[in-house]
Symmetry: D3
Subunit: 246 residues, 6 copies
């Protein structure tokens, strides 16, 4: 089957890293295609970026017509857009935030999320709640690192280990990596912590495969009915002189 | 003071109706300016529209430089974008969804929301929850009418009365109008139901005035810190031939 | 319009301080009248005082007939009586506990309440819950100061700053002053903390003005129906010899 | 041991009925003394009555010095005052609302409360919540009867049977009688419904006996510390001419 | 990989049916082995059966040594034993109750569970709650059929359709089959209802495969640490004359 | 009346200690009979032990026919089996976990549970939740001691005092002893902490006496209906050669 994995930002290097992680997690016979939004933020850190990212990702998905595909994985941890994609597409949509939490619940009584900036905690808490998997989340802990600082591996590892310890004290028995494209980090942390560490990208790929294999699709009976036909403009008109809108 | 009231869709007639309602609610000395996004959906009905609307409204707000203003009212009931606007702007931001609920809590033990399509219920429930005011919501009831069908006043009134009865049975003692630009309806319903009916636009204008008058601004200590400086593209490029993104 | 602001205790100096705060917050054209119960506790600190205060405040309200008024603000933080006043009166009733929380929710993701004695925390938690605004309360922190110790400004400020720090660590992005008549303190704390600080008296006055301006009144459809006509004795008979009651 | 059972209103006939119920439930060696407040409402139906009742009951308790006693049962279903009495007294205090719920939880997965007027539902819900026993309450159902209408036994029984059916549909497996002094009714309902029916007065007497027998007393470490010494006026002054308080 | 699927009762025909369902859901390269407890109830319907089943299933698992295996699926819907198996085994354990709920959350905003007897609802609610996936459960509805009555396909289908309608009215957008070994029914219901229907056995097999493929194992850091070494007797002694135990 | 108190493990010395505690708490005219399961774990520490214990205790109860009895107390703190016993027996069943919490709620605003091993915290939290009394639990704290280490009184006392301090910091005003057979410890802790300390065995005996005295029995209308007649095997068949089950 083919799974399209969408990055939530415009940084293609990150899309490639996410695709690598997705491929290493995918089952035999699954093809992974990466999708980078043509517009939006270069990294998603905070609510403004998240709202911008959601529209850009949906624009990319609605325009994607290269090849047929069987499911979509949305690879922005704690970012918006999940529900809109479920309305838009006829294939299953799995977001890495919820995916990591679903698997974490199977591995221990409480899980903790380790993310980049503290400012992202609120979005992640809301995303877990609206996905129905917040009940066993013991804590969402920030490392203080920005998405684009994750290059420095040693510093990143130390920061995540420190945050993991705070999550453990808060009751976490399992850890969730609260950002995309860090498959390497997952292994290092697992070894050093003696706790399972769940990466959302891998979890989402496997859950998407499971839904497809079981013939399950998003329900159209209720909140995720198909979008109503209407006029939608996805890009700003060229601005001349004064700003439109009044 | 000046309050900018943003419509969540591109239909200017609706902006004008919202502005009328806002002006009729505003205190002496308050100037209301309407803002219509330059792109986005012509009406917001569902998650896809909501995510698209959020980015378009934020784009309109970041670009708005006509005159200085003291607060922003976001006039999309149950739509996304509220938190992004709080990050973006240095003035208070009040969303009509939360505003109506805040005032409703002061008028009775439980309130009910009457909205247009059933499909919007989930977004409204999530929006009330993430705003911290869901606890006393007894029910969110749909009328089955689309936003653009609200023109037919008699049909609209009957549909809202029927939905109001369902909310009352569910425990509501106060009603919230779950959509913008229906000031007239509010009065009719109130008279026929013998219950207070809260319109979000009026509520938000008064709450915004209150915050400004008390010198209160959005906290920057935490989730609503200023957006980080970075490269953000706010609009889809004109597409020639193949789609970008892989 | 005229707003009657009721103190929850019999100390007139505190009524005057509360009235000063209310007047500094009120809009143009609003007249503030203070009301001090003729009986009850000299300060409300704990459940016993709160229950006594509730009856005394209701007795004062039912007997108040000087001039017509448009709304009532109940200025006891965490004290009982709010719902009884809503039954008793035909004008909107706003309690400073809920009022501060309502505005705080508009300014940050989580708020914290700083109050006087630790023993009051339970009442405040219950009052926020029963008002429907507890969801975003990160912590209620006591300073260890009694209501009547608040005179010593320097000591008070230091105690509140220490408590504010604990609230911030618990996740608060906005602070609520958990007692009445401390408008000065609000400003000092705001400057030193770099966080918005909400004073319940000002918040309640503005919310009461908003309800009146929008023509909204307490719902009579349910819990706050008018009190049933019956024999009620509001004061103890003169006691001669043995205690009555068996 | 001696248990003082306080009525929440001034109607002595009701105190006597409550005392009869308490005596029929009490263990050997327990003496029941009834206490009727010297002031307050003739029946408690709604928030205003409840707040008035709380102060009057506390006034009666603080003045009660006839004989030493070992525990207090507060016999107002859903009425205020419980926490104040715990502060005031050195003996255990059990309220019939919480008592009935505690025992009901031991008899089935969910319980339902059947009360008099619908308007009392909110108070009962809040009282169960603040007592920590609301989680298994499936419904609080009103019969539409006032406290003083309960004389007509046949009508009362039919009204309670109808309400019980609604509670059963809502998931109740056990019923709680949501008012005091109806021991007879409890038996009739139990037989006709084939479900256990818990009377709060009997439950509270047995729980009070249990606490005394186990040597357990209210914790002073926290919310129920002894009231602070201060000036408290428990009664309205005789009014001459103008109303005091400004 | 090899997955051991345990029936919760001693009826081998049911084990075989469950194994058929598991095999039809399993991925290529997965071998399914069925395990039937040597003792316990012939069907699990209620708490007593569930507690008996849990011990018998754990006894079967601890004694299972035929071949190495990679994961265990526990195929009793709403039955106990899940956490004990996680302590006991070094491979991932997935229970069909939680598994169905996890996948259902990915397909719609709210899901409903349709089970056999009404008496099982409480166990299922508790099992979903303790697994951390109850938040989006709109209703657990019983069909009134016993486990062993499920043979009559037409009657079963009608009963499930009627229950499904009740779940839909309660807000369910996705259905979960609340019992094992009904793969056929799943397809029929899905077609007739136009809603996704999740079978727990298939869901659990896919989730177990996912955990194994991702190298994730139950956390030993906390609640699921290995059982302490001690004397455990797994079976009642043969009884001669008087009963042991006092 | 006669109350049967069941130990959750096979260690008779512990049964005797529990019986001593039960007798010291029982009212005049109550006879306590201890029951030790004929099989199961020698101590219950963790989920596996708990599931094994539940079946063994139910087996002991169903076989108990010495003398008639009026109620059962289940003396395993946080162990399973409570609901199965309610189905099985026609007399009231009270579990010491819930019993201690019910009485603790009457003594302070929040209670804390002090137990042996940290690994037991999850079971206790779940048991309090499913019993409907978790709302006021401030914390469940482990001492790090195993059930069979409780012999060393001095070490045990110090460990419990340290844990109690952690519970107090978390908001506990009342303590619950999270294990059976420690009546002595209860007194020592109470004196040293100045807080009420509730022992589950004593609490359960008094609650059981109360239910019996009030003529209250487990509801058969719903979750606790009588077990359905069917074939149940309570012990493993003698194994010859290969293991049964496939």
């Amino acid at each position: 089957m083919r799974i399209v994995v969408t990055n939530c930002n415009t940084t293609r290097a990150m899309t490639e890293e996410i695709v690598r992680g997705a491929r290493s997690a995918a089952g035999p016979g699954t093809t992974i295609t990466g999708l980078t939004p043509a517009w939006g933020p270069e990294s998603a850190e905070g609510w403004l970026d998240s709202h911008l990212s959601a529209a850009a990702v949906l624009d990319a998905l609605r325009g994607y017509e290269e090849e047929p595909y069987d499911a979509v994985v949305m690879a922005g941890f704690g970012e918006h857009g999940r529900e809109g994609a479920r309305e838009l597409l006829d294939v299953p949509v799995v977001d890495i935030t919820e995916a990591a939490a679903h698997l974490a619940c199977l591995l221990g009584r409480r899980y903790g999320v380790i993310t980049t900036l503290d400012r992202s905690r609120g979005q992640i808490e809301d995303s877990l709640y609206t996905a129905g998997v917040a009940a066993h989340c013991a804590a969402v802990v920030g490392t203080g690192l920005g998405v684009l600082d994750l290059g420095d591996e040693r510093r990143t590892t130390e920061a995540f280990l420190a945050a993991a310890e705070r999550a453990r004290v808060a009751g976490a028995e399992v850890l969730v990596l609260g950002c995309a494209g860090m498959t390497g980090l997952q292994r290092v942390l697992g070894d050093r912590l003696g706790m399972p560490v769940v990466d959302g990208v891998g979890a989402a790929v496997r859950l998407a495969e499971s839904l497809v294999a079981l013939g399950l699709r998003t329900s159209r009976a209720g909140g995720y009915a198909r979008p109503r036909p209407k006029r939608r403009t996805w890009s700003a008109p060229v601005r001349e002189g004064g700003w439109p809108g009044r």
